[in-house]
Amino acid sequence: MIFAGIDIGSITAKAAIIKDNQLISTHVLFTGYNTLTASQKVFEELLSKVNISKNEVKTIISTGYGRNSVDFADKALTEIICHGAGAHFLNPEIRGIIDVGGQDSKAILLDNNGKVTNFSMNDKCAAGTGRFLEVMARALELDLDLLGEISLKADTPANISSICTVFAESEVISMIAKQEKRENIIAGIHESAAARIATLAAKIKIQEPVMMTGGVAKNIGMVKALENRLKCQILVTDSAQENGAIGAAVLASTL
């Protein structure tokens, strides 16, 4: 039997398909202005990629901040539960999840059945989210995807003291003016974001093994900075960004 999960985030829309308990494929698109259109498009493109027709999909669960606008889904669930289910599906050992997406970052605690027992989220503040990194990449006139690799060359990470994204951006701009090395600035940005996220993890007393999910997990510099902060190894799968959609598909199969 075939099940689908659709995760509409603030920046990207993700879809995943599961057949007979196996992950078949996933797909990612930019969300854009219209969340419903994005959800239809990401779903249809994924279906045609794997040659499955809509009628074959038994149940669909939507998640992400745009979850309630996906009118063709059978049910909407939050990212928290879906990331829990996704991580557990990919690796049943996982007890802690750090999910960093476009506008939210969260720490999630799982029990050994993959059920979420606790979570904490950033509040009304973009510090420590994908948006924070995006703003910084723009200030540095760099492609977001390059931040991770470049930061690995840093010798002494710059010290970014402002928590506020807007103030941190002006700090970065003045560092650029002082000709601070780019890699050091980026490493500093990662440390600043990691410090924010680590507080969320501490709030729920995160447990190992820890997996990082969400788009920001693709940034190796962020993962390293978090590993330093949390003093533990962090697992990242190839489908970290689609983890929420995978979880939604997993949960769809249990409905």
């Binding site: 928290i80 539960i81 979420v116 027992t117 606790n118 979570f119 009304k124």
Partner: protein, 410 residues
């Protein structure tokens, strides 16, 4: 009417209308105090109001007014006016709205009637001290400060003596301002009535221990107004008697407030006044009923220290040991007691940007509750009257996830 509407009508609490009428009359009386040669005292919500009633002074509560401003979604504008005057946006939004309202006469009732005196009791917070000092200067009226030290662990003999002395000073202050002598017999009578009112309020709140619950904390937030503003009068006693009867009747007939009550939640901190409707339907969509809260019970939680036959002596302890004036461990104990009594499945904490004494120990209380009561706890950040501190989609995700966790655990 179709079936759904009939069902909805049945679910409504009929006493609500009466309560609205009582509050209207109360504010009309207060507004026309001058014409009726009556004095008006502004008093903090947790202040000892009974001596005022005994002296026939009309008590007016800026905090109740703040709640009205919040519910009518006029908080943002009034807060900003106070900020224009130079007040920090970190200041409690009740203080901000009250200070600006005194000048612009805004809000749903065009401002409060001007005070002849101010009574400030700091058993709720330290903010009220400066707030009332500012208003005393603005209106040029006498201010009485009733100082209740925080009782972290016990009500020591030193505290007892210190607070008791102030009751005499309070009475002397009232005699001086009114130029009348204090009637102790009347006071004894008012004391008994106040005690009765609080007892009835407690009984009303207790009815929600029934499954399904006949009312929610959202209703309690509304019905609370009388025990705050008309405590010590027969109006409150009579009303709560009726309300209690209605609740018992609902229980008897199996009328629940949330149609399919599945989960029972406890609320902490002040309500988010401008979002009551949205929050209430959000929870009810999840078949969850907010059956109780730590806020409305604050007006009866120290009843055990009060002796109705020795009212003036015993209120020293009663007014000092209220929920916001005790240690975090004791607060957590009360929360855990409530969790047991009301059979609670989850605890929702409003981290309130305005109210520091209420929000300061919340993370500790959260940890204690999680470990001792073993139920999920949710923390949402907002402010009771200033909507700029509230973000709906973020709160929505948290509530949805919280309900999913409770549901998973069932």
């Amino acid at each position: 009417m179709n079936d759904k509407l009939v069902e909805k009508e049945k679910q409504k609490i009929t006493s609500a209308k009466k309560m609205r009428d009582i509050m209207t009359t109360y504010y009309i009386d207060a507004m026309s105090a001058k014409e009726n040669n009556k004095l008006v005292a502004w008093i903090t919500s947790g202040g000892p109001v009974e001596p005022l009633i005994a002296m026939d002074i009309i008590p007016v509560y800026p905090e109740n007014h703040g709640a009205m401003i919040g519910s009518s979604k006029m908080g943002e504008d009034l807060c900003m006016k106070a900020e224009d005057m130079g007040y920090s946006n970190d200041l409690c939004s009740y203080a901000r709205t009250d200070i600006s309202c005194a000048i612009v006469k805004g809000g749903p009732i065009g401002g409060l009637p001007e005070p002849d005196m101010l009574i400030c009791c700091n058993n709720i917070c330290g903010t009220v001290l400066k707030w009332y000092e500012i208003q005393a200067r603005f209106f040029n009226v006498p201010l009485f400060i009733f100082d209740t030290p925080v009782c972290h662990t016990e009500f020591s003999p030193e505290i007892a003596k210190y607070v008791r002395t102030q009751i005499d000073e309070y009475i002397a202050f009232l005699e001086k301002v009114t130029k009348k002598s204090f009637d102790h017999d009347k006071m004894a009578e008012v004391g008994k009535i106040s005690y009765q009112g609080q007892l009835l309020w407690q009984k009303v709140l207790n009815t929600t221990a029934n499954r399904p619950s006949p009312m929610t904390a959202f209703d309690a937030f509304f019905f609370l107004a009388l025990i705050v503003t008309l405590r010590g009068t027969m109006i409150a006693v009579d009303f709560y008697k009726e309300l209690l009867l209605e609740m018992k009747e609902r229980i008897k007939n199996g009328i629940s407030i949330v149609p399919n009550e599945k989960y029972r939640l406890l609320w902490d901190n002040l309500p988010i006044w401008y979002q009551l409707k949205w929050l209430s339907s959000k929870f009810s969509d999840h078949d969850a009923c907010l059956v109780a809260d730590t806020y409305t019970s604050a007006w009866c939680s120290s009843l055990k220290y009060i002796d109705e036959n020795d009212f003036l002596n015993s209120i020293a302890e009663g007014y000092t040991r209220i929920y916001l004036n005790i240690g975090v461990d004791q607060m957590a104990d009360q929360v855990i007691e409530m969790i047991k009594f009301y059979n609670i499945d989850g605890f929702v904490m409003h981290s309130n940007r305005s109210c520091k004494p209420y929000s300061f120990g919340q993370l500790d209380i959260k940890r204690i509750v999680e470990s001792k009561a073993n139920i999920p706890v949710l923390m949402i950040e907002a402010d009771m009257t200033d909507p700029r501190a509230f973000s709906q989609s973020q709160v929505e995700t948290r509530i949805d996830a919280f309900m999913e966790i409770i549901n998973q655990g069932k």
